[in-house]
């Protein structure tokens, strides 16, 4: 896979339509028509410009599948795009000098392999480069989580030791929503202890312990998708248990209103200025 030199790294930005500096440009040898305006799936893509670096979505896929020079050129171009995206996404709050370039390089190399491996899963309902950056972000954060959780995995628990629900100190009465918080936490603790199967309990407590999903899945000998399914089944049962104990969405909101957690909104923005 292509390695970029220091001067090639993190090249200048370009607009989504591909105007601007040349990093990521399409090889002149490639037979794809850079003026094409359809996505791989053949959908009109006026709302989401298909061009980045003068390559259509279909050209990206074709070039990455072609082999030889076309593929190596496409990988080099895609490498630059992923590098810029990861640098700005992962280190957006830090000066450029504080970016870990080696970490970004490792993520990009792994992401390119993953993208080649999963090319068939690109559905053409978004720009290819947007999809590719999404895959790269998945790769990068999974690698980071695995590194952070390396010393704390399920299989390293002592024999007979099980994950425990966190012990919560007394909540002072003056804390906003203190009564609701006590109620929700105790209902959750009892629901996990009494309302779940052993495996479901393990899955939920692993999540509460902050263990990385891939690690937990590996320890249980299941895929991450199967782990998600197990977690979903556990939450369905937990929801019924919580409701039976009088916990509502309003109660939870009141209990944790002072915490900045778990409410993420990426609602569609209003129409962008042209």
């Amino acid at each position: 896979l292509p390695q970029r030199s220091e001067t090639e790294r993190d090249g200048p930005s370009r607009s989504p339509r591909g105007e601007g500096p040349s990093d990521g440009t399409h090889s002149e040898r490639a037979p794809c028509d850079p003026e094409a305006t359809t996505t791989t799936a053949g959908q009109p893509s006026a709302a989401t410009p298909p061009l980045l670096g003068n390559r259509t979505d279909a050209c990206w896929v074709a070039d990455l599948r072609a082999g030889g020079r076309r593929t190596s050129d496409a990988l080099a171009d895609l490498s630059g795009i992923l590098r810029r995206g990861l640098a700005r996404g992962l280190f957006r709050d830090r000066p450029r000098a504080e970016r870990d370039e080696n970490e970004i390089d490792d993520h990009v190399q792994e992401a390119l392999l993953r993208i080649l491996d999963r090319l068939d899963s690109y559905r053409g309902d978004a720009r290819f480069t947007t999809w590719a950056i999404a895959v790269a972000v998945r790769v990068a954060l999974t690698r980071r989580r695995s590194a952070q959780g390396r010393d704390r995995t399920w299989s390293q628990l002592a024999p007979g030791e099980t994950l425990q629900f966190p012990t919560l100190p007394a909540v002072a009465d003056e804390v906003e929503g203190a009564e609701e918080r006590r109620h929700v936490v105790e209902a959750l603790r009892r629901s996990i202890a009494e309302g779940l199967t052993e495996r479901q309990r393990h899955v939920v407590l692993a999540e509460l312990a902050g263990l990385p999903k891939d690690r937990v899945a590996a320890d249980l000998g299941i895929s991450t998708n199967a782990l998600y399914k197990a977690g979903h089944d556990a939450r369905v049962r937990l929801r019924d248990e919580l409701v039976a104990r009088g916990v509502t969405a309003h109660t939870v909101h009141e209990a944790f209103a002072t915490l900045e957690t778990a409410s993420y909104s990426h609602a569609p923005a209003t129409k962008e200025e042209p």
Partner: protein, 79 residues
């Protein structure tokens, strides 16, 4: 208990009450999130298949973190 413990308890409580039968898993979320983010520039209502992307991040902290990073990466690309 640490702040992280408390935050995870809060996140679990919220995710539990937001649980729905038609949830998508993390792999399906990854397949749809690019279209979801590109829809941000549209005035059209979010299609049901993309609404499930929004629902998933209310439940899955890992994908929520990925969306945060991805949105920043794409916003930077557009500026």
């Amino acid at each position: 208990v640490t702040d992280s413990d408390l935050e995870r308890i809060a996140a679990l409580a919220k995710a539990t009450l937001a649980t729905r039968p038609d949830e998508i898993d993390c792999e399906e979320w990854l397949a749809r999130v690019a279209a979801y983010l590109e829809h941000r520039g549209s005035a059209d209502p979010l299609p049901p298949e993309l609404q499930l992307v929004a629902n998933h991040v209310e439940i899955c902290p890992a994908c929520r973190a990925e969306l945060d990073v991805l949105a920043a990466a794409l916003d930077a690309e557009r500026t």
